[in-house]
C-alpha cells in the first residue's frame, strides 16, 4: 500500500509519501530532489535509538554526507535555546545553503528542525520524517515551524515548507499508546471538519484505542485521508489567512488547557479532544449543531480512549483569560471553529464569555 499526496502551493509545492516499510528507502527517495550533499539529521535520543541506524544507512548508501543532532524528548525542550544548539551543530558541520535538515521524530522535533532550517543561512532544505501519528497527520504537513515562548506555545516560528514529508506507518509500532491516541484526536478532527466518510469508517471500526487493534488497511486509510484533508486545506490557504483556521477546531480551548497545565500533564491530542467536546457543546448551545451529532463525536473520542473532561483543578476564568493571548485572537476577539454537521465547520468570533463560562463549568 502506497500513497503520494501532493500539497499544492503557489510556491514550494511538495509531496507527502506514505508507504509501510519504506524507511530504508529514504535515501533513494531523497536523491532526485536536489537536496545538496550534506544532511543534518535531527532527532530525539529514543527515536534515534529505534530508527537512526536504518535512516543513516539509507542516507549514506545514497551517498549523502550525514551528521546527527539529538534534542532531549519533550515539549519543555522546544525552546530558542534548543534551536541555538542545532545552529551550533550546523556550523560545526559547515552546512551550506544547498544542504538539508531532516527531522526524524514527532511534532516537537519536526517543528524545531523546520524552524532551524527556515532560519539557518536564511533558509536551507528541510525534510520531515514524522514518527508519531500526530506528526504524520498534522504537525509535519503545512509548513508551521517554531518553538514555544515561556509564556505561550508556538509564539515564535515561521511558515516554512518541507521539500518532502516521508511517512512509514510501521514506525508507529514503537509509539506509546497514549501518544497514538493523541494522534487519533487530530484524525477525528479531520473527520469532523472535512471528511464525513472518514468519520463513518472510524465509527465502524471495532476498536480504535490502540495501534494493534487497527488493520493495516485502516491505518493506511486513516493516515492517507487525514493527510489529504490537511493538504486540501493548506493548499487553499498556506498562511492561515482564512480557511486554514478550521484546522484549529478543538484547539482554542485545547491550547488554553494545554498551556495552563504546563504542556506536560495533558498532551496536545488530549487537549484537542477536550477542546472538540467543548467546541461541539458551544455549537449545540448556539443551535448550530445537533445534539445527536455532537454525541456521536463524543462517543468516538471516548472510543479512542481520549479524555472528554476539562481538569477540574483549572479555574474557569483562568482558561478564559488564557484564550486572550492565543495567536488566533484577531482585533481582541477569540475565534471559535464550530461544527454545523459532521464534515463541516464554520468560524465564529462572537461567542459570549457567559456561554464560554457555562460550557467550561459543565465539562469539568
Amino acid at each position: 500500500m502506497q500513497a503520494i499526496i501532493p500539497v499544492n502551493l503557489p510556491e514550494n509545492s511538495y509531496n507527502i509519501a506514505i508507504c509501510a516499510g519504506s524507511l530504508n528507502q529514504l535515501g533513494t527517495t531523497l536523491k532526485p530532489l536536489n537536496l545538496g550533499k550534506k544532511i543534518l539529521l535531527v532527532s530525539n535520543p529514543e527515536i534515534f535509538n529505534h530508527y537512526g541506524e536504518t535512516v543513516i544507512n539509507s542516507l549514506e548508501t545514497a551517498l549523502f554526507q550525514t551528521a546527527t543532532h539529538t534534542i532531549p524528548a519533550g515539549e519543555t525542550y522546544k525552546t530558542l535555546d534548543s534551536i541555538a544548539k542545532i545552529y551550533h551543530t550546523a556550523l560545526e558541520n559547515r552546512l551550506e545553503r544547498s544542504s538539508t535538515m531532516v527531522a526524524l521524530g514527532g511534532g516537537v522535533v519536526g517543528d524545531m528542525t523546520g524552524f532551524a532550517a527556515a532560519t539557518w543561512l536564511r533558509g536551507i532544505n528541510f525534510v520531515q520524517v514524522p514518527t508519531s501519528l500526530l506528526a504524520m497527520v498534522d504537525a509535519a504537513i503545512g509548513g508551521k515551524t517554531g518553538v514555544n515562548h515561556p509564556q505561550g506555545k508556538n509564539l515564535i516560528g515561521a511558515f516554512y515548507q518541507p521539500r518532502l514529508v516521508f511517512i512509514d506507518p510501521l514506525v508507529l509500532k514503537t509509539l506509546p499508546v497514549r501518544e497514538f491516541r493523541a494522534g487519533m484526536a487530530e484524525v477525528i478532527k479531520y473527520a469532523i471538519i472535512w471528511d464525513q466518510d472518514l468519520f463513518t469508517h472510524l465509527e465502524e471500526a471495532p476498536s480504535l484505542d490502540n495501534l494493534s487493534s487497527l488493520s493495516a488497511a485502516l491505518l493506511q486509510r486513516i493516515i492517507t485521508n487525514s493527510c489529504q484533508a490537511k493538504a486540501d486545506v493548506v493548499g487553499k490557504d498556506e498562511k492561515e489567512a482564512g480557511l486554514r483556521a478550521i484546522l484549529n477546531y478543538g484547539h482554542t480551548i485545547g491550547h488554553a488547557v494545554e498551556s495552563l497545565t504546563g504542556y506536560s500533564v495533558i498532551n496536545h491530542g488530549e487537549a484537542v479532544a477536550i477542546g472538540m467536546v467543548a467546541a461541539g457543546e458551544i455549537a449545540v448551545k448556539l443551535g448550530m449543531w445537533t445534539q445527536e451529532e455532537a454525541k456521536r463525536q463524543n462517543i468516538l473520542i471516548e472510543k479512542t480512549g481520549l479524555p472528554t473532561k476539562i481538569p477540574s483543578n483549572l479555574a474557569t476564568q483562568a482558561i478564559i483569560d488564557t484564550l486572550a493571548t492565543d495567536k488566533k485572537v484577531k482585533a481582541g476577539k477569540v475565534r471559535f471553529i464550530l461544527p454545523t454537521q459532521i464534515g463541516k465547520v464554520t468560524i465564529i468570533d462572537n461567542v459570549s464569555s457567559e456561554l464560554l463560562f457555562q460550557v467550561i463549568e459543565e465539562l469539568k
Copy 2:
C-alpha cells in the same frame, strides 16, 4: 523631491518611498496599508532620542497604538538574545498577527526587527524606516533579516519582506561621517555592478566624503538610483538563487575582513570598500577587467574617504580560511563577483587560492 520605487516580487511586492522631510508623515503613509492597530517601534537609544518623538507623534496622530523597544546600538547586540527581548516586549503589548513592527534605525535595527517580525506568531507586518545611508540603499530593501552567530555574521535569519520602506533623507544629518561613508561604499557598489550613469555622476561630484558637501539633488539621486538598482536585482531574484549574488560584490573578502576584526574595528561599508578593491584586482589579474577602470573605481573609493587597504595585522591565510564559512559558499567553492566593465559584473567560483593569496598580500 519625491520618488516611489516599487519592488516587484511574485508575492509580497512593496514600495520604497523616498521624500526629504517626510518623517512626520509616516503615520498617514502607513494608514492605508492595513497594518492593524498596534505598532511596536524598534530603535536604538540614540536614534530614538533624535527621531522617536516625531515618529510616535506621527503614528499616534494616525491613531496607531504605539509601544517602543530599544536595543543598544551596534553589531555586538545583533544576537538571538536581543531578538528574545523584542519577543518579550511583543508579548507584553499583546501584538497580534495583524500588528506591525516598525524598524527605526540603521541596518542592525532593521535586520533584527525584520527577523523578530518574521518569527513572532510566524510572521507579522513589518515596516522599515532606515536612518543610515547604508540601511537606506541596502539593508532595508530586499527582505534579508537576521542576527549574527558568535562565529559568523548573519548566519541566522530569514527572507522576509517589509510592507514599506520609508526613507526621509533629511535624517542623515545626524549620521556620523564615518557611517555616511560606509553607506557610500554600497552606493559605489551599485554603480559598479549595475549603473554606469550613477558612477559618472559620482565621479563628477566635487566632493563625496561627507553629507554636507552633497547637494540635495545629488543626495536624492544617490539614494533613488541605489534603491532602484537594488529593487531591480531583488525583483528578478528574491531569494538569492542567482542574479542577486551580484549584490555581494566586494562582500566576499569584505565579510572575512569584517569577521576577523570582530565587526567593530572596521565597519561593514569599509569592509565592502576594501573587498571591492580586492575583487577589482582579482578581475584585473584574471584579465577580465581593465586596469584603468579598476583604478577609476579605487579613486572613487578614496574620494569618499573609504579605506582601500586590508589591515596588515590580518593573516592572509586566516582571511582565506574564513571565506570557507561564508554563506555564499556552494559545494565548497567560494564565489566571487567580479567586474567586467563599470556597470557590469560576472560570477566566478574558480579563483585559485594562489591568486587570492597574492591579491590579499598586495593590498596590505
